[in-house]
Symmetry: C2
Subunit: 211 residues, 2 copies
């Protein structure tokens, strides 16, 4: 019998968060292995974890006897092996739209405002994070004009939406003025109450600090 | 009759370069529309180009009546609509490996050492670019131990290889010591003579400066 998948995750990590949404949407039961990104210089930098992901980043997903890394490739793998409750549209042009929105966030915004990059920027960091997120959201707002329905691409929840919600949380941490992005806000509000998004929320994880 | 695809590209852009390799591998004839990233504050920032890609980045590919952006989603679209000469393995686990290697480069290295980020870093920029590329290549070298054959994933050229070659060029621009990454070097040398890689090389583009 196949063993239960294990997700190496940090409650606040946006890449982990995307995968948590996908796992829940697809009804995949999994064990949660917390990796604390701050404590002791970061558990992700210890050799034990780096043997799972040499990049020293969360998430990593152990599933089907494989250890998978990088959030979007993990989600694509889940889509290919568990096609029910799809996170990609059927039509290639729409799939390209969903993936492009996901990549604007995954490679165009998130890496530029993650902890390591901000530390390197010193006292310019808040302004930089603000600029990076605002530029990205401005582009997304335009892209959504030709793709959005109820959600980022039509009326189906896609990989784009899985990326959007954690990035909106990061925007709020940097106090980005969201009134400039009415489509993003509308989609965010439509997504938030969905059960898979509630379950994956950073507030509701085993490693979320109790306050 | 369908019109000829148009690739908006800059000879030195690593994201454009990846797409050029894919187009040539798949035998797709296309017109090359140069977008100069430096001249006049960058043609990618002009409204005319931003109407194609609101992120103001190359590449953009006009094909099948669509305007596609983001290199990896463009390559996935080509793979789905032109499956001959595949750039992804058949088996889901191998596909995940190829995509993960591609993403280490696409989101884990490249955005952190692109022009805008380096400008923000001021006099720390060379050291930062060096660190980012070295850390990424160290991780890739480990990942390749379990995935590589002749190329990044087995003996088939994949999306991972399309990302690796332009990133190796960036590494050489920052004088990264490649002797630490023997597997990367071996794969690079196996890829470079392949016709699609020669055709896509930054030296051989319509907008490559003549010297």
């Amino acid at each position: 019998m196949a063993s239960k998948p294990v997700l190496y995750s940090y409650f606040r990590s946006s890449a982990s968060w995307r995968v948590r949404i996908a796992l829940t949407m697809k009804g995949i039961d999994y064990d949660y292995a917390p990796v604390h990104l701050v404590k002791d210089g970061g558990e992700q930098n210890k050799e034990e974890y780096k043997s799972k992901n040499p990049m020293g980043q969360v998430p990593a997903l152990v599933i089907d006897g494989l250890t998978l890394t990088q959030s979007l490739p993990i989600i694509e793998y889940l889509e290919e092996t568990r096609p029910d409750n799809p996170v990609l549209p059927k039509e290639p042009g729409k799939r390209a739209q969903a993936r492009a929105i996901a990549e604007v966030i995954n490679s165009g915004i998130q890496p530029l405002q993650n902890l390591k990059t901000l530390q390197a920027l010193g006292d310019k960091k808040t302004e930089w994070a603000h600029t990076v997120i605002s530029n990205g959201f401005e582009a997304l707002e335009k892209m959504l004009q030709s793709s959005a329905g109820k959600y980022c691409v039509g009326d189906q929840v896609t990989i784009a939406d899985l990326c959007l919600i954690p990035q909106c949380y990061n925007a709020s941490r940097f106090s980005v003025d969201m009134t400039k992005y009415p489509t993003i806000v509308r989609i965010k509000e439509a997504l938030e109450p969905l059960p898979a998004f509630v379950a994956a929320d950073y507030n509701n994880q085993p490693d979320t600090p109790k306050e």
